[in-house]
């Protein structure tokens, strides 16, 4: 590990000084790779609109094509500026691909881009979303009852059965969320195509709420699973 004293971004091409539009990867004048100084976002980097339902095959093809342009392997004989630019661009490409490839990471990223602060998704793990209050309350009661059962020496299979039953409503709810998310994403993309800014914003607001709930539900399921594993561990 060595300290990297890479400089702060500068706009024009470092080789010839020509300006270039955001997210052009190579200088239009001298054809050198540009430093990552200015870039739009993961979508524009791939030359894509901010759609939530992407053709993953197409995304993969773009990723491979860009990898062939940026990868540091092709720059080991170049100037240090170009080597750094290649490293930064290849990193950004990999980070962007990792995010956009996964529908949920893609949605989270788009929400952040559109100004929905990520702080709220952090709250999702601690604060119960309004729409789930009743469900969470019931589950917590059930989990307490199961813990009591266990403390009173109920058999492992009995506990497992009850835990399994407790999971059912959450899993069903999660499935409903997936469907709703899917439909809303499609709607968002349609509004984007039709340039319906307000309708699109509305879809994003709903998507955020659904995403927060989904995150919460996923965490709940993980809690139940841990409970089940803890039971197995003490039983064995």
């Amino acid at each position: 590990m060595r300290p990297d004293t890479s400089a702060i971004p500068i706009d024009p091409c470092k080789h010839c000084g020509a300006g270039a539009p955001v997210d052009v990867h190579f200088c239009p004048r001298c054809d050198r790779i540009l430093t990552l100084g200015r870039h739009g976002d993961y979508f524009t980097f791939f030359g894509l609109r901010r759609r939530l339902r992407l053709d993953v095959k197409d995304l993969e093809q773009r990723f491979r094509a860009l990898s062939r342009l940026f990868h540091p392997d092709y720059f080991h004989n170049a100037t240090s500026t170009e080597r750094l630019a290649s490293l930064e661009r290849a990193s950004y490409l990999n980070d962007a691909f990792r995010t956009l490839r996964d529908p949920m990471a893609r949605l989270e990223y788009l929400l952040k881009l559109e100004g929905f602060t990520p702080k709220e998704s952090h709250d999702a793990t601690t604060k119960v979303p309004q729409g789930l209050l009743e469900e969470v309350f019931e589950l917590n009661e059930e989990l307490e009852a199961i813990q009591d059962m266990r403390a009173e020496g109920a058999s492992a299979s009995e506990v497992a059965l009850r835990l399994h039953a407790a999971r059912q409503p959450i899993e069903a709810n999660l499935e409903r969320h997936e469907e709703q998310l899917d439909a809303l994403m499609a709607a968002h993309d349609a509004h984007l195509e039709a340039n319906e800014a307000d309708a699109r914003h509305e879809a994003l607001v709903k998507l955020r709420t659904l995403l927060l709930e989904r995150t919460y539900l996923t965490n709940l399921l993980a809690t139940v699973r841990r409970e089940a594993e803890a039971g197995e561990a003490t039983a064995s």
């Binding site: 590990m1 060595r2 300290p3 400089a7 491979r64 990868h71 392997d73 092709y74 004989n77 490293l87």
Partner: protein, 622 residues
């Protein structure tokens, strides 16, 4: 332009390879040996030996000889404590710092010892280019392979070793990935490949996808502590148990046992039974002898193979694939010659693995292919590796906050915001870790650094962005700036298990001071290597179960005895400091076995014609 070679810097053996006229091939030394044992030894006069000669010194001067140094690369003394009793050399170092290994009168770090091996490979390659009449024989750069599992500290140590040996390390690639290149699997339009690499000291399983020439590692898993050495250890323990040896005090005897059991292990890949024979043990008039059948051997090593299956399953899981979705399986590492290993891999992935290339050479060949691609600038093939471990930083309460997740395609980057806790604080300490565990002490510490020069502000106001960049080699660099003022912070990284730039510079200077180019010693080593090769070939033939039958049918009366005598004569001269003596005896054995070599050749051909498989009869040297 000087040459760029591919190097497999292995735990047990190292190799160098080069692509010439479009054909990759390993570069053998003057006596035709491609494998350089990764062993370094120093004699009383400070003369350094590398390879076969150093390996020989394991028997005569075990305490001044180091092997398996790769196990110590980028590691701390606390990591290697439990291994120490198996190594005859002394390992020291402060807790939480770089390991130091006693070699003769010096204490060296693992990169310095590895540099001896790399220097020898560089010399070997340059000698080869000179023999070829190349106008530009200099080797200035290399692609070096590492286990996919290597963390930042281990990769950095490998790069430092290259620098110390006078080699620019153009790229560090994962060994299994190199194996795929060697097999030309990048030419597949699309497919999933599993690489099962059971080498001397490490086990790696990698799941790769190739699509339109882009190679992507989907997942890697493995065990930095599993390989042929473990098989050897089981065999050594078995024999040491028979003999009542104590590894701690009878280092020389343990090495003699090791040599004998390794030979038996090799034989068992070709024959159904082998004989372990350990001559010259103190306090025993007769050599130790034991028969070992393939069945007994397989029962003994089954637990070792079993331990490879867990990582295989986890890698598949990480890649989101079932074993049935794997299109090709590739075998790497000498231990995959063992028939049982081949059977297990075939059973796991449901297909016959590739075994056409020499499993010892396949990684070096792949490294050479990659070196050739880098030099030529061709773009039809691109290798995208992943980082094997998550990277994170320690936060309040010792919890790790992950910044770059494992199996992320590299290069990759991540950033984290920091602020101050007291008014006018101008520095912040940051601890970088690599691993998957929640708590900092359970992970590998990569280094600590201090952010300095933060403009004095009320607590919590500065917004310092620290950027972590993992390059295409899997090596980390760190940069930081304060967002409110745009001031770039100075960062002092103190690597936990690595060397600072200044230390590497100092070692470079020292290595020049110690470099005694002793031409006579070099030629003596070469003479011994040549002798070693013919001894091994002869002994192998003599050990064949059907040798008595062949001798009776084909050799003249007394011929076998003559060969035995010439063999014993040469073996006895091996310790001689006079290379002429060794050369004369080598020539004598060569002469004595000439007829035998012809006989064996005919025997093999006839057996093959008679419908027996080549494996049963092949007398080819390994």
């Amino acid at each position: 332009m000087s040459k760029v070679v591919g190097i497999d810097l292995g735990t047990t053996n190292s190799l160098v390879a080069f692509v010439s006229g479009g054909r990759p091939a390993v570069i053998a030394d003057e006596s035709g040996d491609a494998l350089l044992p990764s062993v370094v030894s120093v004699d009383g006069g400070g003369m350094v030996y590398v390879g076969r000669e150093a390996q020989r010194r394991l028997l005569t001067d075990a305490s001044r000889t180091v092997y398996s140094v790769k196990r110590f690369m980028g590691r701390g003394i606390e990591d290697v404590k439990d291994e120490e009793r198996w190594f005859p050399f002394k390992v020291s170092g402060e807790t939480g710092g770089v390991v130091r290994i006693r070699l003769g009168d010096r204490e060296l770090t693992p990169p310095e010892i590895s540099a001896f091996i790399l220097r020898e490979l560089k010399r070997r390659a340059e000698a080869f280019f000179m023999r070829e009449g190349d106008f530009d024989p200099e080797v200035a750069a290399a692609v070096i392979t590492v286990p996919a599992y290597f963390n930042d500290a281990q990769r950095t140590a490998t790069r430092d070793a290259g620098r110390l040996a006078g080699l620019e390390v153009l790229r560090i690639i994962n060994e299994p990935t190199a194996a795929c290149l060697a097999y030309g699997l990048d030419k597949r339009r699309e497919g999933v490949i599993a690489v099962y690499d059971l080498g001397g000291g490490t086990f790696d399983i990698s799941i790769l996808r190739v699509e339109e020439g882009v190679f992507q590692v989907l997942a890697t898993n493995g065990d930095t502590h599993l390989g042929g050495d473990d098989i050897d250890r089981l065999l050594v323990e078995m024999v040491a148990g028979d003999l009542g040896l104590d590894p701690a005090t009878q280092a020389d005897a343990v090495q003699a046992v090791r040599k004998a059991v390794i030979q038996a292990k090799w034989d068992l890949s070709e024959f159904d039974e082998a004989h372990i024979e350990v001559p010259g043990l103190a306090g025993r008039a007769e050599p130790y002898r034991r028969r070992l059948t393939r069945g007994e051997f397989e029962a003994l090593i089954a637990p070792v193979l079993e331990r490879t299956l867990g990582p295989c399953r986890r890698a598949l899981e990480d890649a989101g694939l079932h074993a049935s979705q794997v299109d090709e399986a590739v075998l790497v590492g000498g231990s995959t010659r063992i028939p049982m290993v081949r059977r297990e891999v075939e059973r796991l992935f449901g297909r016959k693995p590739h075994t056409d290339l020499n499993p010892d050479e396949v990684v070096a060949i792949g490294a050479a292919v990659q070196a050739d691609i880098l030099v030529s600038g061709r773009r039809e093939m691109l290798l995208l590796d992943v980082t094997p471990l998550s990277l994170g930083i320690e936060t309040m309460g010792g919890v790790v906050s992950k910044i770059i997740l494992r199996n992320s395609t590299i290069p990759a980057s991540g950033s984290e915001m920091f602020t101050t806790f007291v008014d006018n604080q101008t520095a912040v300490d940051i601890h970088i870790l690599q691993g998957e565990r929640e708590m900092a002490p359970d992970n590998r510490s990569l280094g600590r650094f201090k952010l300095r020069g933060i403009p004095p502000m009320p607590a919590g106001l500065p917004r310092i962005q620290v950027r972590f960049q993992i390059d295409a080699n899997g090596i980390l660099s760190v940069s930081a700036h304060e967002l409110r003022t745009g001031i770039v912070q100075t960062i002092e990284v103190k690597p936990s298990y690595g060397l600072t730039d200044a230390e590497v510079e100092r070692m470079l200077i020292e290595s020049f001071e110690h470099a005694q180019e002793d031409v006579d010693a070099r030629m003596l080593i070469e003479a011994r290597n040549e002798a070693e090769t013919i001894i091994a070939a002869t002994e192998k033939t003599l050990r064949r179960p059907d040798f008595v039958e062949i001798a009776a049918a084909q050799l003249t009366p007394g011929e076998a005895a003559l060969i035995q005598a010439a063999l014993a004569d040469l073996k006895q001269s091996m310790g001689s400091p006079d290379r002429n003596v060794i050369q004369v005896k080598t020539a004598a054995l060569n002469q004595a076995t000439q007829h035998l070599a012809e006989v064996m050749m005919n025997w093999t051909v006839q057996a093959a014609l008679a419908g027996r498989t080549a494996d049963d009869v092949a007398a080819k040297g390994r």
